[in-house]
Protein backbone atom coordinates (compact mmCIF):
# COMPACT_ATOMS: atom_id res chain seq x y z
CA UNK A 1 0.00 0.00 0.00
CA UNK A 2 1.40 3.31 -1.01
CA UNK A 3 1.35 6.29 1.26
CA UNK A 4 -0.44 9.40 0.12
CA UNK A 5 1.04 12.80 0.58
CA UNK A 6 -1.04 15.95 0.60
CA UNK A 7 0.52 18.89 -1.08
CA UNK A 8 -0.55 22.38 -0.28
CA UNK A 9 0.41 24.99 -2.79
CA UNK A 10 1.39 28.37 -1.49
CA UNK A 11 0.06 31.39 -3.33
CA UNK A 12 2.89 33.18 -5.14
CA UNK A 13 2.16 36.52 -3.51
CA UNK A 14 2.52 34.94 -0.07
CA UNK A 15 5.56 32.76 -0.80
CA UNK A 16 7.61 35.83 -1.73
CA UNK A 17 6.61 37.74 1.35
CA UNK A 18 9.73 37.88 3.58
CA UNK A 19 7.79 38.58 6.75
CA UNK A 20 5.18 35.89 6.54
CA UNK A 21 6.02 33.25 4.01
CA UNK A 22 3.93 30.73 5.93
CA UNK A 23 1.05 31.13 3.50
CA UNK A 24 -1.37 28.32 2.96
CA UNK A 25 -3.93 27.95 0.23
CA UNK A 26 -6.96 26.01 1.34
CA UNK A 27 -10.13 24.91 -0.33
CA UNK A 28 -13.37 25.38 1.52
CA UNK A 29 -16.03 23.36 -0.20
CA UNK A 30 -17.57 22.42 -2.54
CA UNK A 31 -18.74 19.80 -0.05
CA UNK A 32 -18.44 21.81 3.13
CA UNK A 33 -21.63 21.93 5.23
CA UNK A 34 -21.12 25.59 6.11
CA UNK A 35 -20.98 26.71 2.48
CA UNK A 36 -24.74 26.04 2.18
CA UNK A 37 -24.47 23.90 -0.91
CA UNK A 38 -21.77 23.40 -3.50
CA UNK A 39 -19.88 26.66 -3.15
CA UNK A 40 -16.10 26.45 -3.22
CA UNK A 41 -13.86 29.11 -1.74
CA UNK A 42 -10.17 29.23 -2.55
CA UNK A 43 -8.65 30.96 0.45
CA UNK A 44 -5.05 32.15 0.83
CA UNK A 45 -4.24 32.15 4.50
CA UNK A 46 -1.53 33.96 6.37
CA UNK A 47 -1.67 32.39 9.77
CA UNK A 48 -5.38 32.57 10.48
CA UNK A 49 -5.95 35.74 8.47
CA UNK A 50 -7.52 35.45 5.05
CA UNK A 51 -5.47 37.40 2.52
CA UNK A 52 -7.38 36.47 -0.61
CA UNK A 53 -10.66 34.71 -1.23
CA UNK A 54 -11.88 33.50 -4.59
CA UNK A 55 -15.39 32.08 -4.81
CA UNK A 56 -15.75 29.31 -7.40
CA UNK A 57 -19.28 28.57 -8.50
CA UNK A 58 -20.87 26.41 -11.18
CA UNK A 59 -20.92 22.99 -9.54
CA UNK A 60 -24.72 22.94 -9.73
CA UNK A 61 -25.00 24.54 -13.16
CA UNK A 62 -27.80 22.85 -15.05
CA UNK A 63 -28.20 25.33 -17.88
CA UNK A 64 -31.64 26.58 -16.88
CA UNK A 65 -31.60 29.45 -19.36
CA UNK A 66 -30.74 27.08 -22.19
CA UNK A 67 -33.44 24.68 -21.04
CA UNK A 68 -36.01 27.46 -21.25
CA UNK A 69 -35.07 28.09 -24.88
CA UNK A 70 -35.62 24.43 -25.68
CA UNK A 71 -38.73 23.74 -23.63
CA UNK A 72 -40.80 26.81 -24.36
CA UNK A 73 -42.39 29.29 -22.00
CA UNK A 74 -45.04 27.12 -20.34
CA UNK A 75 -42.97 24.01 -19.78
CA UNK A 76 -40.21 25.95 -18.04
CA UNK A 77 -42.37 26.55 -14.95
CA UNK A 78 -41.27 23.43 -13.00
CA UNK A 79 -37.64 24.41 -13.63
CA UNK A 80 -38.11 27.76 -11.90
CA UNK A 81 -38.99 25.86 -8.70
CA UNK A 82 -35.51 24.39 -8.69
CA UNK A 83 -33.72 27.73 -8.80
CA UNK A 84 -33.94 28.85 -5.20
CA UNK A 85 -35.37 25.63 -3.86
CA UNK A 86 -36.23 26.96 -0.41
CA UNK A 87 -38.80 29.33 -1.90
CA UNK A 88 -40.10 27.67 -5.08
CA UNK A 89 -43.34 29.64 -5.18
CA UNK A 90 -41.51 32.95 -5.19
CA UNK A 91 -39.59 31.88 -8.30
CA UNK A 92 -42.81 30.69 -9.95
CA UNK A 93 -44.44 34.04 -9.34
CA UNK A 94 -41.45 36.06 -10.57
CA UNK A 95 -41.38 34.10 -13.82
CA UNK A 96 -45.15 34.30 -14.25
CA UNK A 97 -45.09 38.08 -13.68
CA UNK A 98 -42.44 38.53 -16.38
CA UNK A 99 -44.46 36.52 -18.90
CA UNK A 100 -47.64 38.38 -17.95
CA UNK A 101 -45.87 41.67 -18.53
CA UNK A 102 -44.78 40.47 -21.95
CA UNK A 103 -48.26 39.25 -22.87
CA UNK A 104 -50.15 42.11 -21.17
CA UNK A 105 -52.24 39.87 -18.93
CA UNK A 106 -53.87 41.17 -15.79
CA UNK A 107 -54.30 38.73 -12.91
CA UNK A 108 -57.71 38.80 -11.16
CA UNK A 109 -57.77 40.39 -7.71
CA UNK A 110 -58.17 37.15 -5.81
CA UNK A 111 -55.32 35.59 -7.77
CA UNK A 112 -53.07 38.46 -6.73
CA UNK A 113 -54.07 38.11 -3.08
CA UNK A 114 -53.31 34.38 -3.18
CA UNK A 115 -49.91 35.16 -4.71
CA UNK A 116 -49.09 37.74 -2.05
CA UNK A 117 -49.99 35.26 0.67
CA UNK A 118 -47.82 32.58 -0.98
CA UNK A 119 -44.90 34.97 -1.38
CA UNK A 120 -44.99 36.03 2.24
CA UNK A 121 -45.23 32.45 3.50
CA UNK A 122 -42.29 31.57 1.22
CA UNK A 123 -40.33 34.50 2.59
CA UNK A 124 -40.92 33.34 6.15
CA UNK A 125 -39.90 29.78 5.24
CA UNK A 126 -36.74 30.98 3.47
CA UNK A 127 -35.74 33.32 6.29
CA UNK A 128 -36.29 30.49 8.77
CA UNK A 129 -33.80 28.39 6.80
CA UNK A 130 -31.37 31.30 6.93
CA UNK A 131 -31.83 31.60 10.68
CA UNK A 132 -31.55 27.89 11.35
CA UNK A 133 -28.55 27.23 9.10
CA UNK A 134 -26.63 30.30 10.18
CA UNK A 135 -27.45 29.41 13.76
CA UNK A 136 -26.11 25.88 13.54
CA UNK A 137 -23.00 27.09 11.67
CA UNK A 138 -22.20 29.38 14.56
CA UNK A 139 -22.99 26.81 17.21
CA UNK A 140 -26.62 27.53 18.06
CA UNK A 141 -27.98 24.04 17.40
CA UNK A 142 -31.28 24.63 19.17
CA UNK A 143 -32.22 27.35 16.68
CA UNK A 144 -31.78 24.93 13.80
CA UNK A 145 -34.30 22.46 15.18
CA UNK A 146 -36.80 25.08 16.27
CA UNK A 147 -36.80 27.02 13.02
CA UNK A 148 -37.11 23.85 10.96
CA UNK A 149 -40.06 22.83 13.12
CA UNK A 150 -41.77 26.13 12.29
CA UNK A 151 -40.84 25.85 8.62
CA UNK A 152 -42.36 22.39 8.51
CA UNK A 153 -45.70 23.90 9.56
CA UNK A 154 -45.58 26.15 6.48
CA UNK A 155 -44.72 23.17 4.31
CA UNK A 156 -47.65 21.22 5.73
CA UNK A 157 -49.93 24.09 4.75
CA UNK A 158 -48.42 24.25 1.26
CA UNK A 159 -48.78 20.48 0.96
CA UNK A 160 -52.50 20.72 1.56
CA UNK A 161 -52.70 23.86 -0.57
CA UNK A 162 -50.83 22.80 -3.70
CA UNK A 163 -50.25 19.05 -3.31
CA UNK A 164 -46.51 19.30 -2.68
CA UNK A 165 -44.31 20.28 0.21
CA UNK A 166 -41.67 21.79 -2.08
CA UNK A 167 -41.30 22.40 -5.82
CA UNK A 168 -44.97 23.26 -5.96
CA UNK A 169 -45.38 24.60 -9.54
CA UNK A 170 -48.67 25.98 -8.30
CA UNK A 171 -48.54 29.29 -10.16
CA UNK A 172 -49.71 29.65 -13.75
CA UNK A 173 -49.58 32.44 -16.29
CA UNK A 174 -52.56 34.60 -15.39
CA UNK A 175 -52.95 33.55 -11.77
CA UNK A 176 -52.67 30.36 -9.76
CA UNK A 177 -53.71 26.79 -10.45
CA UNK A 178 -56.60 26.42 -8.02
CA UNK A 179 -58.58 28.31 -5.43
CA UNK A 180 -57.73 28.18 -1.74
CA UNK A 181 -59.88 25.95 0.45
CA UNK A 182 -61.29 27.28 3.71
CA UNK A 183 -59.34 24.61 5.57
CA UNK A 184 -56.06 26.01 4.21
CA UNK A 185 -57.11 29.52 5.16
CA UNK A 186 -57.90 28.32 8.67
CA UNK A 187 -54.55 26.53 9.02
CA UNK A 188 -52.67 29.56 7.74
CA UNK A 189 -54.51 31.79 10.17
CA UNK A 190 -53.63 29.47 13.04
CA UNK A 191 -49.98 29.38 11.98
CA UNK A 192 -49.74 33.17 11.68
CA UNK A 193 -51.35 33.57 15.10
CA UNK A 194 -48.76 31.36 16.76
CA UNK A 195 -45.66 32.24 14.77
CA UNK A 196 -44.68 35.65 16.23
CA UNK A 197 -44.48 34.16 19.73
CA UNK A 198 -42.28 31.33 18.42
CA UNK A 199 -40.09 33.86 16.63
CA UNK A 200 -39.73 35.82 19.86
CA UNK A 201 -38.38 32.69 21.54
CA UNK A 202 -35.81 32.16 18.79
CA UNK A 203 -34.81 35.79 18.84
CA UNK A 204 -34.43 35.72 22.60
CA UNK A 205 -31.91 32.88 22.16
CA UNK A 206 -29.81 34.94 19.73
CA UNK A 207 -30.20 38.72 19.79
CA UNK A 208 -28.82 39.27 23.28
CA UNK A 209 -26.62 36.18 23.23
CA UNK A 210 -23.00 37.06 23.94
CA UNK A 211 -21.55 34.44 21.58
CA UNK A 212 -23.94 35.28 18.74
CA UNK A 213 -23.28 38.99 19.19
CA UNK A 214 -19.50 38.63 19.21
CA UNK A 215 -19.44 36.34 16.19
CA UNK A 216 -21.64 38.70 14.14
CA UNK A 217 -21.14 42.27 15.31
CA UNK A 218 -18.65 44.17 13.11
CA UNK A 219 -18.02 41.06 11.03
CA UNK A 220 -18.49 41.40 7.27
CA UNK A 221 -19.17 45.14 7.17
CA UNK A 222 -20.14 46.80 3.92
CA UNK A 223 -21.13 50.42 3.41
CA UNK A 224 -24.27 51.49 1.59
CA UNK A 225 -22.36 52.84 -1.45
CA UNK A 226 -20.28 49.70 -1.70
CA UNK A 227 -23.30 47.44 -1.34
CA UNK A 228 -25.01 49.24 -4.22
CA UNK A 229 -21.92 49.16 -6.42
CA UNK A 230 -21.49 45.45 -5.74
CA UNK A 231 -25.07 44.81 -6.92
CA UNK A 232 -26.34 43.68 -3.53
CA UNK A 233 -30.10 43.76 -3.12
CA UNK A 234 -32.70 42.73 -0.60
CA UNK A 235 -31.92 42.19 3.09
CA UNK A 236 -28.15 42.47 2.44
CA UNK A 237 -28.61 45.97 1.02
CA UNK A 238 -31.08 46.98 3.72
CA UNK A 239 -28.65 45.76 6.37
CA UNK A 240 -26.33 48.52 5.15
CA UNK A 241 -29.01 51.13 5.66
CA UNK A 242 -30.54 51.53 2.19
CA UNK A 243 -34.32 51.47 2.59
CA UNK A 244 -34.93 49.85 -0.76
CA UNK A 245 -37.64 47.24 -1.15
CA UNK A 246 -39.11 46.40 -4.56
CA UNK A 247 -42.48 45.79 -2.91
CA UNK A 248 -42.50 49.53 -2.14
CA UNK A 249 -40.38 50.88 -5.00
CA UNK A 250 -42.03 49.02 -7.88
CA UNK A 251 -45.14 47.39 -6.43
CA UNK A 252 -46.36 44.23 -8.16
CA UNK A 253 -49.25 41.89 -7.36
CA UNK A 254 -51.00 44.71 -5.50
CA UNK A 255 -48.34 45.23 -2.82
CA UNK A 256 -49.12 48.95 -2.85
CA UNK A 257 -52.35 48.14 -1.02
CA UNK A 258 -50.69 46.43 1.96
CA UNK A 259 -49.37 48.07 5.08
CA UNK A 260 -45.89 47.07 6.14
CA UNK A 261 -42.59 48.59 7.17
CA UNK A 262 -39.17 48.13 5.59
CA UNK A 263 -36.60 47.37 8.29
CA UNK A 264 -33.07 48.73 7.71
CA UNK A 265 -29.80 48.28 9.54
CA UNK A 266 -27.15 50.88 10.28
CA UNK A 267 -23.76 49.16 10.41
CA UNK A 268 -24.06 46.79 7.45
CA UNK A 269 -22.51 43.89 9.35
CA UNK A 270 -23.67 40.30 9.85
CA UNK A 271 -25.57 41.25 12.98
CA UNK A 272 -27.60 43.94 11.21
CA UNK A 273 -28.46 41.61 8.37
CA UNK A 274 -29.68 39.14 10.95
CA UNK A 275 -31.85 41.77 12.66
CA UNK A 276 -33.28 42.89 9.30
CA UNK A 277 -34.32 39.35 8.39
CA UNK A 278 -35.95 38.68 11.75
CA UNK A 279 -37.94 41.90 11.47
CA UNK A 280 -38.87 41.05 7.89
CA UNK A 281 -40.49 37.85 9.09
CA UNK A 282 -42.66 39.90 11.45
CA UNK A 283 -43.60 42.23 8.59
CA UNK A 284 -44.39 39.22 6.43
CA UNK A 285 -46.82 38.03 9.08
CA UNK A 286 -48.47 41.45 8.97
CA UNK A 287 -48.84 41.30 5.18
CA UNK A 288 -50.06 37.71 5.26
CA UNK A 289 -52.74 38.56 7.82
CA UNK A 290 -54.00 41.38 5.62
CA UNK A 291 -54.00 39.03 2.63
CA UNK A 292 -56.00 36.46 4.61
CA UNK A 293 -58.63 39.09 5.45
CA UNK A 294 -58.89 40.00 1.78
CA UNK A 295 -59.18 36.35 0.81
CA UNK A 296 -62.24 36.13 3.06
CA UNK A 297 -63.73 39.22 1.42
CA UNK A 298 -63.18 37.97 -2.13
CA UNK A 299 -64.32 34.39 -1.57
CA UNK A 300 -65.72 32.90 -4.76
CA UNK A 301 -63.72 35.21 -7.01
CA UNK A 302 -61.58 34.06 -9.93
CA UNK A 303 -57.96 33.11 -9.30
CA UNK A 304 -57.01 32.60 -12.95
CA UNK A 305 -57.53 35.17 -15.70
CA UNK A 306 -59.22 34.17 -18.91
CA UNK A 307 -57.39 34.57 -22.17
CA UNK A 308 -57.59 31.73 -24.65
CA UNK A 309 -54.28 32.65 -26.25
CA UNK A 310 -52.03 32.31 -23.20
CA UNK A 311 -53.87 30.83 -20.25
CA UNK A 312 -54.77 27.23 -19.51
CA UNK A 313 -58.47 26.30 -19.70
CA UNK A 314 -60.19 25.33 -16.41
CA UNK A 315 -59.15 21.84 -15.28
CA UNK A 316 -62.74 20.64 -14.85
CA UNK A 317 -63.48 21.42 -18.49
CA UNK A 318 -60.28 19.68 -19.63
CA UNK A 319 -61.45 16.45 -18.01
CA UNK A 320 -64.76 16.37 -19.88
CA UNK A 321 -64.21 18.10 -23.20
CA UNK A 322 -61.88 16.97 -25.97
CA UNK A 323 -61.55 20.48 -27.40
CA UNK A 324 -60.46 21.83 -24.04
CA UNK A 325 -57.95 19.01 -23.70
CA UNK A 326 -56.46 19.85 -27.08
CA UNK A 327 -56.44 23.48 -26.08
CA UNK A 328 -54.54 22.72 -22.90
CA UNK A 329 -52.08 20.65 -24.90
CA UNK A 330 -51.53 23.55 -27.31
CA UNK A 331 -50.98 26.02 -24.48
CA UNK A 332 -48.42 23.78 -22.81
CA UNK A 333 -46.47 22.78 -25.90
CA UNK A 334 -47.01 25.69 -28.27
CA UNK A 335 -47.38 28.88 -26.24
CA UNK A 336 -46.54 31.92 -28.37
CA UNK A 337 -46.01 35.20 -26.54
CA UNK A 338 -45.94 38.56 -28.36
CA UNK A 339 -42.58 39.65 -29.71
CA UNK A 340 -40.65 41.98 -27.44
CA UNK A 341 -38.71 42.17 -24.21
CA UNK A 342 -39.87 42.40 -20.64
CA UNK A 343 -38.15 42.53 -17.29
CA UNK A 344 -39.76 41.86 -13.96
CA UNK A 345 -37.89 42.01 -10.68
CA UNK A 346 -39.46 40.84 -7.44
CA UNK A 347 -38.33 41.13 -3.86
CA UNK A 348 -37.39 37.57 -3.05
CA UNK A 349 -35.98 36.56 0.30
CA UNK A 350 -32.43 36.78 -1.13
CA UNK A 351 -32.79 40.08 -2.97
CA UNK A 352 -33.98 41.15 -6.37
CA UNK A 353 -34.99 38.09 -8.35
CA UNK A 354 -35.43 39.19 -11.93
CA UNK A 355 -36.55 37.55 -15.13
CA UNK A 356 -35.57 39.17 -18.42
CA UNK A 357 -37.57 37.49 -21.16
CA UNK A 358 -37.19 38.07 -24.88
CA UNK A 359 -39.66 36.67 -27.37
CA UNK A 360 -39.81 36.88 -31.16
CA UNK A 361 -43.44 35.75 -31.34
CA UNK A 362 -42.63 32.13 -32.16
CA UNK A 363 -42.83 29.07 -29.95
CA UNK A 364 -39.16 29.13 -28.99
CA UNK A 365 -38.04 31.70 -26.43
CA UNK A 366 -35.16 33.85 -27.67
CA UNK A 367 -33.77 34.45 -24.20
CA UNK A 368 -34.76 34.03 -20.60
CA UNK A 369 -32.14 35.58 -18.37
CA UNK A 370 -32.55 34.95 -14.69
CA UNK A 371 -31.12 37.69 -12.51
CA UNK A 372 -30.27 35.59 -9.48
CA UNK A 373 -29.57 37.69 -6.35
CA UNK A 374 -27.60 34.82 -4.81
CA UNK A 375 -24.81 35.06 -7.39
CA UNK A 376 -24.06 38.64 -6.37
CA UNK A 377 -24.28 37.72 -2.70
CA UNK A 378 -21.54 35.14 -3.39
CA UNK A 379 -19.51 37.62 -5.41
CA UNK A 380 -19.19 39.96 -2.46
CA UNK A 381 -17.69 37.37 -0.06
CA UNK A 382 -14.07 38.52 -0.77
CA UNK A 383 -15.00 42.15 -0.11
CA UNK A 384 -16.40 41.21 3.28
CA UNK A 385 -13.96 38.52 4.25
CA UNK A 386 -10.47 39.54 3.14
CA UNK A 387 -8.31 40.59 6.04
CA UNK A 388 -10.48 38.80 8.57
CA UNK A 389 -10.04 35.54 10.42
CA UNK A 390 -10.85 32.24 8.77
CA UNK A 391 -13.61 31.49 11.26
CA UNK A 392 -15.46 34.62 10.11
CA UNK A 393 -16.17 33.09 6.70
CA UNK A 394 -18.86 30.94 8.27
CA UNK A 395 -20.61 33.96 9.73
CA UNK A 396 -20.24 35.92 6.48
CA UNK A 397 -21.51 33.11 4.25
CA UNK A 398 -24.43 32.56 6.55
CA UNK A 399 -25.38 36.21 6.79
CA UNK A 400 -25.25 36.79 3.01
CA UNK A 401 -27.83 34.02 2.57
CA UNK A 402 -27.73 32.38 -0.84
CA UNK A 403 -28.91 29.11 -2.28
CA UNK A 404 -26.62 27.45 -4.79
CA UNK A 405 -29.48 26.20 -6.96
CA UNK A 406 -30.12 29.82 -7.83
CA UNK A 407 -26.48 30.93 -7.95
CA UNK A 408 -25.49 28.29 -10.49
CA UNK A 409 -28.81 27.93 -12.31
Amino acid sequence: MSTRTFEYSVGPELADDPVHGEGLRINMGPQHPATHGVLRLKIDLDGETMRRIEPVVGYLHRGKEKLCEGLGWARFFPHTDRLDYVQPLMNNIGYALALEKLAGIEVPERGQIVRVLLMELSRIAAHLIYLGCTGIDLGAVTIFFNTFKEREKIYDILDLWSGHRMNNTYVRIGGVFSDVSEEVEELTRAFLAGFPAELDVQEKCLTGNRIWYDRNRDVGRISAEQALAWALTGPNLRGSGVAHDLRKAEPYSGYEGYEFDVPVGTAGDCYDRYLVRVEEMRQSVRIAEQALRRLKETRGGEVLAEDRRYILPPKAAVRTSMEELIHQFKIVTDLRLPAGEAYQGIESSKGELGFFVVSDGTRDPVRCHIRAPGLYNVQVIPVLGEGRLLSDTVAIIGSLDFVMGEVDR
Binding site: G58, W230, A339, Y343
Partner: protein, 180 residues
Protein backbone atom coordinates in the same frame (compact mmCIF):
# COMPACT_ATOMS: atom_id res chain seq x y z
CA UNK B 1 -52.96 47.22 -17.21
CA UNK B 2 -52.19 49.21 -14.07
CA UNK B 3 -48.56 48.14 -13.76
CA UNK B 4 -47.71 49.32 -17.28
CA UNK B 5 -49.63 52.59 -16.87
CA UNK B 6 -47.67 53.45 -13.72
CA UNK B 7 -44.46 52.28 -15.35
CA UNK B 8 -45.06 54.49 -18.39
CA UNK B 9 -45.50 57.60 -16.20
CA UNK B 10 -42.26 56.82 -14.40
CA UNK B 11 -40.48 56.06 -17.63
CA UNK B 12 -41.18 59.47 -19.20
CA UNK B 13 -39.26 61.35 -16.49
CA UNK B 14 -36.58 58.66 -16.65
CA UNK B 15 -36.26 59.17 -20.40
CA UNK B 16 -35.64 62.87 -19.92
CA UNK B 17 -32.93 62.18 -17.38
CA UNK B 18 -31.31 59.62 -19.65
CA UNK B 19 -31.55 62.00 -22.61
CA UNK B 20 -29.86 64.77 -20.63
CA UNK B 21 -27.10 62.45 -19.46
CA UNK B 22 -26.43 61.10 -22.93
CA UNK B 23 -26.58 64.49 -24.68
CA UNK B 24 -23.84 64.64 -27.28
CA UNK B 25 -23.42 60.86 -27.47
CA UNK B 26 -24.94 59.02 -30.41
CA UNK B 27 -27.84 56.94 -29.14
CA UNK B 28 -31.27 55.78 -30.24
CA UNK B 29 -34.28 55.47 -27.96
CA UNK B 30 -36.18 52.20 -28.10
CA UNK B 31 -39.82 51.51 -27.31
CA UNK B 32 -39.55 48.45 -25.07
CA UNK B 33 -42.62 46.27 -24.68
CA UNK B 34 -42.53 46.47 -20.88
CA UNK B 35 -42.41 50.29 -20.93
CA UNK B 36 -38.90 50.54 -19.53
CA UNK B 37 -36.68 53.36 -20.74
CA UNK B 38 -34.29 51.78 -23.24
CA UNK B 39 -31.55 53.12 -25.47
CA UNK B 40 -29.34 51.59 -28.08
CA UNK B 41 -25.77 52.84 -28.34
CA UNK B 42 -22.87 51.92 -30.56
CA UNK B 43 -20.03 49.92 -29.09
CA UNK B 44 -17.48 52.75 -29.22
CA UNK B 45 -19.60 55.01 -27.01
CA UNK B 46 -20.88 52.31 -24.64
CA UNK B 47 -18.25 52.87 -21.96
CA UNK B 48 -18.82 56.64 -21.95
CA UNK B 49 -22.60 56.18 -21.94
CA UNK B 50 -22.55 53.83 -18.94
CA UNK B 51 -20.26 56.11 -16.99
CA UNK B 52 -22.46 59.11 -17.71
CA UNK B 53 -25.58 57.20 -16.75
CA UNK B 54 -24.06 56.53 -13.34
CA UNK B 55 -22.52 59.96 -12.75
CA UNK B 56 -25.05 62.28 -14.41
CA UNK B 57 -28.29 60.29 -14.27
CA UNK B 58 -27.74 58.64 -10.89
CA UNK B 59 -27.97 54.96 -11.77
CA UNK B 60 -25.92 53.65 -8.84
CA UNK B 61 -26.42 49.97 -9.44
CA UNK B 62 -26.25 47.54 -12.32
CA UNK B 63 -29.01 44.92 -12.24
CA UNK B 64 -27.64 42.57 -14.86
CA UNK B 65 -25.35 42.36 -17.87
CA UNK B 66 -26.22 39.77 -20.43
CA UNK B 67 -26.54 39.25 -24.15
CA UNK B 68 -29.22 38.02 -26.53
CA UNK B 69 -28.28 35.83 -29.46
CA UNK B 70 -30.36 37.21 -32.35
CA UNK B 71 -29.16 34.72 -34.94
CA UNK B 72 -29.65 34.91 -37.95
CA UNK B 73 -29.88 38.71 -37.61
CA UNK B 74 -26.76 40.74 -38.37
CA UNK B 75 -25.09 41.97 -36.20
CA UNK B 76 -25.80 38.86 -34.26
CA UNK B 77 -25.45 39.67 -30.55
CA UNK B 78 -27.24 42.26 -28.48
CA UNK B 79 -25.43 43.05 -25.23
CA UNK B 80 -27.86 44.31 -22.60
CA UNK B 81 -26.92 46.35 -19.52
CA UNK B 82 -29.79 47.08 -17.18
CA UNK B 83 -29.24 49.76 -14.57
CA UNK B 84 -31.16 50.76 -11.49
CA UNK B 85 -31.41 53.96 -9.50
CA UNK B 86 -32.38 53.53 -5.87
CA UNK B 87 -32.86 57.27 -5.36
CA UNK B 88 -35.17 57.70 -8.37
CA UNK B 89 -36.65 54.19 -8.21
CA UNK B 90 -36.33 53.61 -11.93
CA UNK B 91 -34.44 51.58 -14.46
CA UNK B 92 -32.84 51.95 -17.85
CA UNK B 93 -31.78 49.33 -20.34
CA UNK B 94 -28.78 49.93 -22.58
CA UNK B 95 -28.41 47.75 -25.65
CA UNK B 96 -25.43 47.37 -27.95
CA UNK B 97 -25.23 45.25 -31.08
CA UNK B 98 -21.99 43.40 -31.76
CA UNK B 99 -21.06 41.18 -34.68
CA UNK B 100 -20.27 37.49 -34.47
CA UNK B 101 -16.76 38.02 -35.89
CA UNK B 102 -15.76 40.46 -33.14
CA UNK B 103 -18.05 39.97 -30.13
CA UNK B 104 -16.29 42.43 -27.82
CA UNK B 105 -17.58 45.31 -25.71
CA UNK B 106 -15.79 47.41 -23.09
CA UNK B 107 -16.07 46.17 -19.53
CA UNK B 108 -17.92 48.26 -16.93
CA UNK B 109 -16.28 46.70 -13.87
CA UNK B 110 -14.56 50.00 -13.12
CA UNK B 111 -17.93 51.73 -12.97
CA UNK B 112 -19.75 49.02 -11.01
CA UNK B 113 -17.48 46.36 -9.43
CA UNK B 114 -20.54 44.15 -9.07
CA UNK B 115 -20.61 43.67 -12.85
CA UNK B 116 -17.57 41.37 -12.65
CA UNK B 117 -19.53 38.13 -12.26
CA UNK B 118 -22.21 39.30 -14.70
CA UNK B 119 -19.63 39.82 -17.41
CA UNK B 120 -17.86 36.58 -16.62
CA UNK B 121 -21.15 34.73 -16.92
CA UNK B 122 -21.96 36.42 -20.21
CA UNK B 123 -18.49 35.59 -21.54
CA UNK B 124 -18.83 31.99 -20.40
CA UNK B 125 -22.27 31.27 -21.78
CA UNK B 126 -22.38 33.51 -24.86
CA UNK B 127 -18.77 34.21 -25.70
CA UNK B 128 -18.96 37.99 -25.43
CA UNK B 129 -15.51 39.40 -24.64
CA UNK B 130 -15.46 42.28 -22.16
CA UNK B 131 -12.25 44.16 -22.84
CA UNK B 132 -10.62 45.60 -19.75
CA UNK B 133 -12.20 43.07 -17.38
CA UNK B 134 -9.68 42.31 -14.59
CA UNK B 135 -10.20 38.54 -14.66
CA UNK B 136 -12.33 37.40 -17.55
CA UNK B 137 -12.67 33.63 -17.23
CA UNK B 138 -15.47 31.13 -17.25
CA UNK B 139 -17.91 31.22 -14.35
CA UNK B 140 -20.30 28.28 -14.71
CA UNK B 141 -18.66 25.85 -17.12
CA UNK B 142 -15.29 24.11 -16.54
CA UNK B 143 -12.32 26.27 -17.44
CA UNK B 144 -11.25 24.02 -20.34
CA UNK B 145 -14.72 23.87 -21.87
CA UNK B 146 -14.60 24.74 -25.54
CA UNK B 147 -18.11 26.01 -26.28
CA UNK B 148 -20.48 28.79 -25.32
CA UNK B 149 -23.69 26.96 -24.40
CA UNK B 150 -26.21 29.79 -24.73
CA UNK B 151 -25.36 30.39 -28.37
CA UNK B 152 -28.14 29.21 -30.62
CA UNK B 153 -26.04 26.66 -32.50
CA UNK B 154 -25.21 24.82 -29.27
CA UNK B 155 -27.50 21.77 -29.02
CA UNK B 156 -29.99 21.35 -26.18
CA UNK B 157 -28.54 18.00 -25.12
CA UNK B 158 -25.07 19.51 -24.69
CA UNK B 159 -21.70 18.57 -26.13
CA UNK B 160 -19.36 16.06 -24.52
CA UNK B 161 -20.82 16.32 -21.05
CA UNK B 162 -18.69 13.35 -19.92
CA UNK B 163 -15.39 14.10 -21.61
CA UNK B 164 -13.41 14.27 -18.37
CA UNK B 165 -14.73 10.96 -17.19
CA UNK B 166 -14.25 9.32 -20.59
CA UNK B 167 -10.62 10.40 -20.88
CA UNK B 168 -9.88 9.22 -17.37
CA UNK B 169 -11.61 5.92 -18.05
CA UNK B 170 -9.79 5.36 -21.35
CA UNK B 171 -6.42 6.02 -19.72
CA UNK B 172 -7.29 3.60 -16.94
CA UNK B 173 -8.26 0.88 -19.41
CA UNK B 174 -5.07 1.36 -21.45
CA UNK B 175 -2.80 0.87 -18.46
CA UNK B 176 -4.72 -1.84 -16.67
CA UNK B 177 -3.05 -5.26 -16.41
CA UNK B 178 -4.49 -8.34 -14.65
CA UNK B 179 -2.76 -9.22 -11.40
CA UNK B 180 -0.19 -12.01 -11.67
Amino acid sequence: MTATAGGAAVASSTRERVRAALAGLAHREIEARDGMAAVEVARDVLAAALRRLRDAAGFEAVTFVTAVDRRPAVPRFEVVHQLYSVAHRDRVRVQTRVAEEDPAVPSCVEVWPGAAFMERECFDLLGIVFTGHPGLKRLMMPEDYRYHPLRKEFPQQGIEPDRHYREWDEARRRTWRPEE
